[in-house]
Amino acid sequence: MRCDYSCQSAEHGLTRRGFLRTAGGAGLGALAIGGITGTPGGASWLSPAVAAEMSKSQKRILTIFLHGGVSQLETWDPKPNTDTGGPFRPISTSVPGIQISELLPHTAKQMHHLSLVRSINTKNSSHGPGAVQMQTGHNEMGAPHPHLGAVVAKALTPEKFALPGHILIRGGGSSRSSAAFLGPRYGSVVLEDGKAPQYSERPSALSLTSDERRQEFRRLANDRFADKRRTADTDAYTYSYDQAMQLMAQRDVFDVAKEPARDQERYGSHEFGKHCLLARRLLEKGVPFVQVNHSNYDTHFENFDYHIEQLGEFDRPFATLISDLAVSGLLKDTLVVVMSEFGRTPKINSRYGRDHWGTAWSVCLGGAGLQAGAVIGKTNDNGTAVVDREIDHGHLFHTYLQAVGIPSSDAFTIAGRKFPIADPAKGPIKELLA
């Protein structure tokens, strides 16, 4: 005896889709609703064909966070034959005129899908504040701001989506990230070491039948209460349990071993390779935000050896992922960003290390219709300063969001108060938004 409520009607869903398509325009209304309103991605009222079409055009973001601070000189902005350049050579890429470090040979072949921002100055050289800047688009000051994943999950998760909207595949690096004022609903669900979410397995003492019986009795109790009083909050609470059941039923989504053996081999058997394949699996299921952490790049000692090792792990799975997303067409709707909390000093210290450096460094990004094969901004000859088109985390945040159709200059309204989605003093990198 389930209640049949008018607000599960199709209008909500379509309005929401409409909003996403025309994003940048009149998005405020849709976003401003604090509780839950909108609707379904894979809801039952959709025919399978329509649902498939909708889930295909669902926008997504994948961020790969290279923890500790990857060196821009050993990756996206090599400075060969200078006092700061280090021992590695640059190599050509699939985009004529763009060269990157020889430590990224596979990535180089995918460069025509990607772009580089080489002129980042975040004016910070501490890990904590750097991670906050790059993942929230704001400086760490005053009340905390939500993580990029929380913003994306809030704006892009279809209403009756069974999987979490914000997933962190954690191999070291930061733990669960905060949704701040957006509320814990949009905080990350963590796949610790690439394993399924905590408590997503039914305890052995509880049979499926028993679980289904208690869920049925819960629904019955909720229906009886809803006859007396029903709010957006009671709906959200009811749904969270149904969502948990749905997630448990498709726990395989988190099992990378279910991917074809051939793919597992292509991505590699090490942790980061598996995590990239898992990320692909989740993006294919329509998860709006996935972050993969790769640790650790904090190379105060032996910077070059460590980068050979770390990037050796990073390069092939990352390039494979980009190539796969491009082939399947998903890259069209998926923004991919490779970021760190900052870069590393051009100056090589006495222990062959590079230290923290937020003054002139790079980010690599692509997909979701962004201009591909572009280079934004420029550093000077030995990489010690930005000389053209200075960019910071605020601009990047706007760019990411607008790439996936979120009107970043608007505000969220939470509990009656307005919160700008991204720093109102900044705007996106327009030339990247094709």
Partner: protein
């Protein structure tokens, strides 16, 4: 502390008798009868107490009258006893009633039982326990351990409230921020948590103690609130900007210190408005008087050679005094508004940290009246909360009123009066603003304050006028356009819900959620029985040596600690998963649901142990009686006939796996909306 019979021993004895099982039908609130039975002296003459009760009750009805003059939403029916008991226990103790408490209260036939219940709840240590959580979450915002541990800060609040310390004294200790005196150290958590960083302190002091979130004013006038100016921010900033974290030479410990010099200055990034030596003052307050300090003569202990300085004049002490000495009306108003929000789920001014004329209270006269009462009552929070929960408004059922309950014609009638009042207010406001433009100095501040008050009243009036028009429009189509009327009514109900003019569903905080599950499943009673048995058999030495006057209170606190300390370890997971974002919306998450279903913690409460609920239910042969016991324990009410049938149906044919069936039903009821929300 002029209210009601404070009788800890009554509660304690009542509990002791009840939970030892000797007198099952014992009435919890026996009061004087109990004293007579035990030959204990009654602490206050009954006549005096009654008079006080009457006085306070009349304040509650005065509040109801003030509300009725403004509210257009129909008043719902009176909440029944079970509904009231559960609601008021959750609001005052952060825990649902036990089955014993519920039975006793429901069986009590006396007409004043609600008032006596409220007095009992306010007097007990569980009130201090719950309010300490509420205030701690409000001020520390779940920051956890820093220099001062979270538990230290909490314990200090719990003790302070259990002693009945007034609100302004508690805040004075916080703003004094003396981490060297052992008795004040826990209160210094507020400053330590924020690293004594003056901007963080300024923002949170203005937000939490004055209800004005002026974060934007750090760099410029507020973009959306005309009333918050950059100068307001820096007046407060000047009071804390000399405070900093000093590293002790020897121990390297961080201690709170203050300089005797240094002036605040600002320059707006928008307008270029600037000031060099900002005179310290409270938000909306006049310049604070400071002693003359000669240059070079600022210190008792100079900050030389890494010494911790001691200034002759402490601006932080000036802040602590000026804010809490009872003269600042905004300080009192903010507290009352937050107490209202705690009880009703939404502030009279909402959001609670955006008090300004363009965001008026829903019932301006109510806020004024309660603020005056709070100030004259010495900043004691108990009489205020007592008044609030004894209002008829609070005691309204959570069922939404339907359109037939609307008093037809009332909106149109009021509209006339209100529109005339609007014109008068507009004229007065214009006059006040014109006068302010001409006035100077203190006089100008006075006129500005008047203008601000008038603007607040005007905006509140405009909102009600708008609402009255909406109601009148509904009435116009009510009989002619059925579909249109239904839609219009729905919009009205939404409006009233957003305004807090109908009762709101309030999600339980994580501690209340966990405690209430432990109560429903019977573990709180088990733990308390153990504590009471210990107290009887081998009372701890520290209690035995207390005086007769002091002992009851300390005993009840001891029992409270013994009861909850073993259960508290369960809270951490709930706080982590269910801890609300500050000031944010309710959030239901996948992580929560997975934990609740598979985490093992809740499941552990559903297995039979001692005389807990599961054990009682498994032992119950009769399905109807089982349903009665289960619904009373979990929902504080009897099941309906339908629900009795649900339970009987669920148990049908499962005699051999009855434990499983009981656990399934219990889990379902605990995971339901009716349990999750205070209603």
């Amino acid at each position: 502390m002029p209210h009601a019979v404070f009788c800890f021993r009554a509660a304690l004895c009542a509990r002791a008798v009840r939970w030892s099982g000797a007198v099952a039908s014992f009435v919890l609130l026996a009061g004087p009868a109990l004293h007579a039975a035990n030959n204990l002296p009654s602490p206050k003459p009954a006549a005096k107490a009654e008079k006080i009760v009457a006085a306070k009750a009349s304040l509650a009805s005065e509040i109801d009258r003030l509300i009725a003059a403004e509210r257009l939403a129909p008043l719902g029916a009176l909440a029944d006893d079970g509904e009231f008991l559960r609601r008021v226990m959750l609001d005052l103790h952060g825990i649902i009633p036990s089955v014993e408490e519920a039975r006793e209260f429901l069986a009590d036939k006396s007409p004043d039982k609600r008032e006596r219940l409220v007095d009992e709840l306010l007097a007990g240590p569980r009130f201090a326990r719950h309010m300490a959580t509420v205030l701690d979450v409000m001020w520390a915002e779940r920051r956890g351990d820093k220099v001062v541990k979270a538990a230290e800060g909490y314990e200090w609040l719990y003790e302070s409230l259990a002693k009945g310390r007034p609100y302004n004294e508690i805040v004075r200790d916080i703003l004094t921020a003396d981490d060297q005196k052992p008795e004040l150290r826990p209160a210094s958590k507020f400053f330590h948590d924020r690293d004594c960083e003056p901007n963080q302190i300024t923002r949170d002091v203005s937000r939490m103690f004055f209800g004005m979130d002026m974060q934007c004013n750090q760099c410029h006038d507020h973009p959306t609130v005309d009333d918050y100016a950059i100068g307001d921010y820096y007046g407060l900033y000047a009071l804390v900007s000399r405070t900093y974290l000093h590293t002790d030479k020897k121990t390297k410990a961080k201690v709170i210190a203050e300089k005797g010099e240094g002036e605040a200055s600002f320059k707006s990034v928008f307008t270029g408005e600037a000031a060099d030596r900002v005179v310290p003052r409270l938000p909306r307050g006049a310049a604070l008087k400071e002693p003359e300090v000669k240059k070079g003569d600022e210190y008792l202990v100079k900050p030389d050679k890494g010494e911790k300085p001691v200034p002759k004049h402490s601006r932080r002490a000036l802040l602590a005094t000026a804010a809490t000495d009872g003269t600042n009306p905004i300080f009192a108003r903010n507290a009352v508004n937050r107490l209202w929000a705690h009880v009703f789920g939404r502030g009279l001014v909402h959001p609670v940290d955006f008090m300004h004329p363009e965001n008026p209270p829903g019932y301006p006269a109510v806020l004024d009246r309660l603020t005056a009462e709070f100030q004259s009552g010495g900043y004691d929070i108990r009489p205020i909360i007592r008044t609030l929960v004894l209002t008829r408004t609070y005691q309204t059922t959570y069922l939404l009123p339907d359109a037939t309950a609307l008093r037809r014609g009332e909106a149109a009638k009021r509209l006339k009066t209100w529109e005339a009042e609007q014109v008068r207010l507009e004229t007065s406001l214009k006059e006040a603003e014109a006068a302010a433009a001409k006035a100077e100095g203190v006089k100008r501040e006075e006129v500005l304050a008047q203008a601000r008050a008038l603007r607040t009243l005007l905006r509140a009036r405009e909102r009600r006028i708008d609402e009255a028009r909406q109601v009148a429009a509904f009435e116009k189509i009510a009989s002619t356009d059925k579909a249109g009327a239904a839609r219009a009514w729905e919009l009205l109900v939404t409006r009233w819900t957003e305004q807090g003019d109908v009762p709101l569903l309030k999600p339980l905080g994580p501690e209340a959620f966990a405690s209430s599950m432990l109560q429903a499943t019977g573990f709180v009673t088990i733990s308390e029985s153990k504590a009471l048995a210990t107290l009887k058999k081998s009372p701890p030495k520290e209690l035995v040596k207390l005086s007769e006057a002091e002992r009851p209170r300390m005993e009840s606190m001891w029992v409270d600690r013994q009861t909850f300390d073993p259960l508290k370890s369960n809270y951490a997971r709930f706080v982590e998963l269910y801890g609300e974002a500050t000031g944010g919306d309710f959030s239901a998450t996948l992580n929560q649901a997975l934990f609740f279903g598979n985490g093992g913690v809740v499941d552990g409460w559903l297995s039979p142990k001692y005389e807990n609920l599961a054990a009682r239910l498994v032992a119950e042969k009769d399905a109807a009686r089982l349903a009665d016991e289960m619904y009373l324990a979990v929902f504080t009410r009897s099941p309906t006939d339908e629900e009795r049938a649900d339970v009987a149906g669920f148990l049908q044919g499962r005699e051999k796996e009855k434990l499983d069936a009981v656990k399934e039903m219990l889990w379902a009821l605990l995971s339901s909306n009716e349990f999750r929300f205070n209603h």
